[in-house]
Symmetry: D2
Subunit: 330 residues, 4 copies
Amino acid sequence: MLNIAVIGAGRIGHVHARTIAGHPEARLALVCDPIGDAAEKLASTHGARAAKDAEEAFADPQVDAVIVGSPTPLHIPHLIAAAKAGKAVLCEKPIALDMADVEAAQADLDAITTPVMFGFNRRFDPSFAAVRAAVQAGRIGALEQLTIISRDPAAPPIEYVKVSGGIFRDMTIHDFDTARFFLGDIVELHAVGQNLDPAIKEAGDFDAAVVTLKAASGAVATIINNRHCASGYDQRLEASGRDGALFAENIRGTTVRLSNAEVTDAQEPYLDFFLERYADAYRLELSAFIEAVEAGTTPPTGITDAVEALRLAEAATTSARTGEVVRLVS
Amino acid sequence: MLNIAVIGAGRIGHVHARTIAGHPEARLALVCDPIGDAAEKLASTHGARAAKDAEEAFADPQVDAVIVGSPTPLHIPHLIAAAKAGKAVLCEKPIALDMADVEAAQADLDAITTPVMFGFNRRFDPSFAAVRAAVQAGRIGALEQLTIISRDPAAPPIEYVKVSGGIFRDMTIHDFDTARFFLGDIVELHAVGQNLDPAIKEAGDFDAAVVTLKAASGAVATIINNRHCASGYDQRLEASGRDGALFAENIRGTTVRLSNAEVTDAQEPYLDFFLERYADAYRLELSAFIEAVEAGTTPPTGITDAVEALRLAEAATTSARTGEVVRLVS
Amino acid sequence: MLNIAVIGAGRIGHVHARTIAGHPEARLALVCDPIGDAAEKLASTHGARAAKDAEEAFADPQVDAVIVGSPTPLHIPHLIAAAKAGKAVLCEKPIALDMADVEAAQADLDAITTPVMFGFNRRFDPSFAAVRAAVQAGRIGALEQLTIISRDPAAPPIEYVKVSGGIFRDMTIHDFDTARFFLGDIVELHAVGQNLDPAIKEAGDFDAAVVTLKAASGAVATIINNRHCASGYDQRLEASGRDGALFAENIRGTTVRLSNAEVTDAQEPYLDFFLERYADAYRLELSAFIEAVEAGTTPPTGITDAVEALRLAEAATTSARTGEVVRLVS
Amino acid sequence: MLNIAVIGAGRIGHVHARTIAGHPEARLALVCDPIGDAAEKLASTHGARAAKDAEEAFADPQVDAVIVGSPTPLHIPHLIAAAKAGKAVLCEKPIALDMADVEAAQADLDAITTPVMFGFNRRFDPSFAAVRAAVQAGRIGALEQLTIISRDPAAPPIEYVKVSGGIFRDMTIHDFDTARFFLGDIVELHAVGQNLDPAIKEAGDFDAAVVTLKAASGAVATIINNRHCASGYDQRLEASGRDGALFAENIRGTTVRLSNAEVTDAQEPYLDFFLERYADAYRLELSAFIEAVEAGTTPPTGITDAVEALRLAEAATTSARTGEVVRLVS
C-alpha cells in the first residue's frame, strides 16, 4: 500500500485522486493546492488530508510518493523537492515549458535517486500498449511508418491556451512520447502549424498541426493534431511494418450500430472526455508506478523521456514558426 | 461460344440477356415472349432475334442452350420441351408452385439427359461461395449453426404477391437452397409467418418469416426473412462451427464512412436492387452453366436441388399455416 | 449507503461481493455459505463478516438488503425468508428449476412487500440497454424481428450441467428475459435442441439450441445458443424494425486490428469470461437495485419477470424434447 | 460511339484496350506500338487494327480520339501530334519527367484546342469521388486535414524504377492530384524520402515517403506512400473537416469475415492489383472522357492538372533530397 500525496487540485489532480481512490494498492494521503479551498474539497471527497503548501507533502514521513500535478513551471521545482525529501515521484507532462528550464536544473535532476516517472498516459492505454507489444514481438516485421491521429473534442479555454506553452508542448507532447515509444531517437522533424480558429491564432498559438518525424532507424512518424473534432476525442494510431500493420481505433461507450434508410452500421461518437477515454490508461499508469516503486525497479517513463519529448515540442515550435526543417542532435 | 435463347422477357429475362451480352463465352441468339413486343424490345437491345413462341427456341438448331425465365407454371413444360429438343437448360427457380406438378412430370424429368441447371444465384455470390468453400475446407471445424438473414428492400406489387406461390416459394426458396448448400439434407422444419403488412395479409401471404431447419447432420439453420428493409437489400449469413465462424456481410456501392457529431463510421445503405446486389452472382452462375455444358460435366445445381428447395418451401408453408413442426422424409 | 449480505459464496457470490466492494453506495456486511470456509474466505477479502447460516443475514438488523446467490432450489426459500425479515432482495436467476416450485410458493411470493429484483444482468449491459432505449424511442419504428446470439466460451463442468436444470433454464433464461425485455408477452414458442457434445447428451441435456418466440405483438424473436464458442463469449443482438435496425456487437479487450498477408483488420477474440464481459452490467444492475430500494420505487426486474422467463424455459424444454410447438397461455 | 486508338501496348495500354472493349460508347479502332508484335497481339484480342507507328493513329480519319499510353518521354510529343491532327486525347500521367520538358513545349501545349484529359484515375474511383462530392456538398464543414494512404502491394522491377522518374513522379503523382482535387492550390511542401529497400536505394530512388502539403486555404494534406504493403494495395483517404470526417476504405474481393480462437472479424487481404482495385475508376474515367468529347465540354482533368501534379512531384523530389521545405509560386 503506497501513501500518495497529490500536488495540485486542478483537473489532472482530480484524475489522479480518483484513480488512487479506486486502486487497491494505493491510498490518497494528502492533497496540496494553494488556491482557495481546492485542496480541501478534493481531499474530503476521498477522505484525505489537505494542505495549502506542497512542502507539507515533502515533509510528511507518512507520504511515500508524490504526484506532481501543479502548473508546468512548478513541475521541476516540485519534482526536485520531492526527490530530495526521498519521495518517489509521478510527475505530469511536460517537464517544463522550456528546455532552458531543464538545463538550468540539470545538476539537481541528475542527482535524483528516488524513482521518478512521467505521466505519459498513452503508453498505458491498453490498445496502444498492445500495438507496441505486438510490434516489439515482431508481428509486423520492421516498423516503417507510424501514423498518430490525435484530435481533442474541443479547444481548451483561451486563457489556458495562453499559458499552455503552445500546442506542441501541451498537446503534441503526448504524441512525441508515443513516437519515441515506438521509434526511439528522432533525428529530424518538420511541423506545419494551422490556424483554423482565429481566437487561438490571436493568442499566438496554432490549433492544428501536422508533424513529420524521421527516426534514426529510418522509420518515419506522422502526427496529425487538431484541437477540435466533431465526433469526440479522436485518438488512433497505425503502425505499418514490412510484414503487416496494426491499428488502434477509437473507443465508444457502447458497441451499438444503427442502420436505417440513410446510414448503415453507424456507431456512436467517440468517448469525448480524456478522463473517460484514458480512464484505463491512468489506472494502469498508476499501477506501473506503484509496481516500480515497490519492486525498486526503474519506472517505465523517466526524466529522459520527459526531456526528449520536450525537446521535440520545442523543435516543432521552431519548425512551425520558421517553416523550416529542424535537425536534432541525438 | 454458346448460343443461348432466353424464354421470357420479364425482369429476370432482362437480367439473363444482359449477363449473356456481357459474357465472353456466350451469345444471345433469341428472346421469346408471347406478350406484346416484349421479346422484340429486349432482343433488339442486344442484337438478337425475337419470337413470340418459345417453340422457336426449341426448334432452332443454332440454339445450344435455353434459359427458362417464363412464369413459374411454365418452368416444367419449357424445361422438358427444351431438353427433349436436346438443349442445355438453365431454369429459373422455383421449379414449380407445387410438388404435385413436379410429381406429375416425374417421368419426363427423369428422362432428361441434357445438362440442366437451376438458377440458385446465391450459390455463386462470391462471398457466400467463399464462406461455403472455407467451411468445406474445414476452416471452422464441424458446422453447427447457420444463420441466413435475407430481407428485400421492399415488397413486390400485390398483384405479383398473389401469383407468387407465397413468400416461402418465391423468396425463401433461395435461402432453402442456401441451407441445403451448406447443410445437405433437412429432416425437420418449423416456420413462423408474420403479417406486418396488411395488404399482403389480405392477399393471403406472409411478408416476414423465421424458419428453423434441422439437418440430418445435427446442425441447425435459421432463416430470417422480411419483404421490407429500410437500409436496402439485407443479405447476410453466419456459419458457426466448432472452431470458428464465418460471416458474409452486406454490400455497399462505396467504402465511404462518415463521422460527425451524431454518428461515427456510418456507412451508406446496402445495395438496393437484386440486379446490383447479385450482379456478380448472375455472371458467375452463367459461367458455371457454360462451363458445365462445354465440359460435359453435371451442372452444380440440378433438378434435385430445385425439387428439394420446393419441398422445403411447401413444408414451410404448411408449418406457418398450421403452427406445427413438419418432419421431412428424406 | 446500503448494507448488503450475500447468500452463497460461489462464483456468482464472488461477482456480487466484488461489485458491492467497488460500489460507492453499497457496503458488503455479511457473506453466508454453509460449505467449508467459503463464506469466511470471500468475506475476509472485502473486510466483511461471515456466517454459515443464511438465517444470520435475515436476522441481522444491520443488513438492509440480501443478494440471493445460493443454489437454485434455495432461491425461493431464501427470497421469502429475506422478504419476511423485511429485507430488500436481489435474487439470482432462475427463480426455481420448476414452475411447480413457484406455484407451491405462490401465496408467499404474492405476500412479499419488500423490494425484490431478479439478476437479469443483460438488461443492464450498456449496449443492450442502449438498443432497447433506442427501440423504445422509436428510432427503428415498430420492432419486427429480434435476433439474440448467445454463445458461451466453453461448457460448464458436466457435474454442473447435471444439476443446472438444462440449457434452457440455466443459459437461455437470460435470453428469454431479453426477448421479453424487448417484445413483452410471448404467445408461442418452438425450440430445437442440439447434441453436439456427447458428454452433455449423456448428462441428458442439449448443448446448443435455436428457439423461436412469437410475441403477442406479432414480432418474432430468435435465440441462437451454444455452450461453446471458439472466439470467446459471443453475445450479440439485432433488433430489426420497420424503419431500421440496431445491433449490439461483441466486446474485446482492446480496439487493436491486425493486417498482414493473410488477414486484414483482424480483431482479437471476444472477452471470454462472463465477469469481464458483463462487469459493467453487474455494476449497473446493483446501482439500479440500490436506487430502487433507496427511492422506494419498484425494481426493474421483478418476480413476474423471473416467473415468465422460467415459464419460457420450461416451454422450450418441452418443445425441444417433443419436437412440437408450445402455445403459452398469457 | 467513339473510335479510339491506343498508343502503347504496355501494361496501361492493355488496361485501356480492355476498358474500351467493355464500354458501350467506345470502339477500339487501332493499337500502335513499335516493339515486336505487341500492338498486333493486343489489337487482335479486341478485333482492332494494329500499327507500329503512332503516326498511323494521328493520320487515320476514322480515329476520333487517342489514348496516349506510351513511355513518359513521349507523352508530350504524342499529345501534341494527336491534338494537331484534331484528335481528342486521353493522356497518361505524368505529363513528363521534367518541368523543363513541359516548358519547352509550352507554346504547342497552349495552342491545343481539341479536348485533352489526363488519366488521374483516382478522381474516378467511386469511393474517393463520393468523399470529394460529400466534402463539396458541405457534409463535414470546412476541410481542415486530408490524409492519403497509398501503398503498392510490391515494388515494380528495378529496371522500371530506374526510368520511372522516381517515386514522386511515378507513384505519388496520383496522390498529388488527389490532394489538388480536394484542396486546390498548394503553397508549401515537405517530403521525407525513405530507403527501406537497398536495391531501390542503389537505383537512386526512395521506396517510401511522407509528404506534407500546405494548401492556400490553410488546410494541410499528408501523403503516406510505400512501394510495398503486405496486405495488398492499400488505398485509403480521410478528409477531416470542422463538422465531421469522411473515410474511403480499402476494397476486398468479398465481404467475408473469419472468427476463430486467434482472430475475430478478420477480413481478407485488400485487392492486390491496380487493375482490379481501380477497374471501376478506369471505366468511369473513360466514360467521363467520352462524355466530355461528345458533349463538347472541358474534360475534368486537363493539362493544368497534369502540370501542377508534376510541379509538386518535382518539388517533393527536391525536398526529399535536400531535406528542406519547398515553397511553391502559385
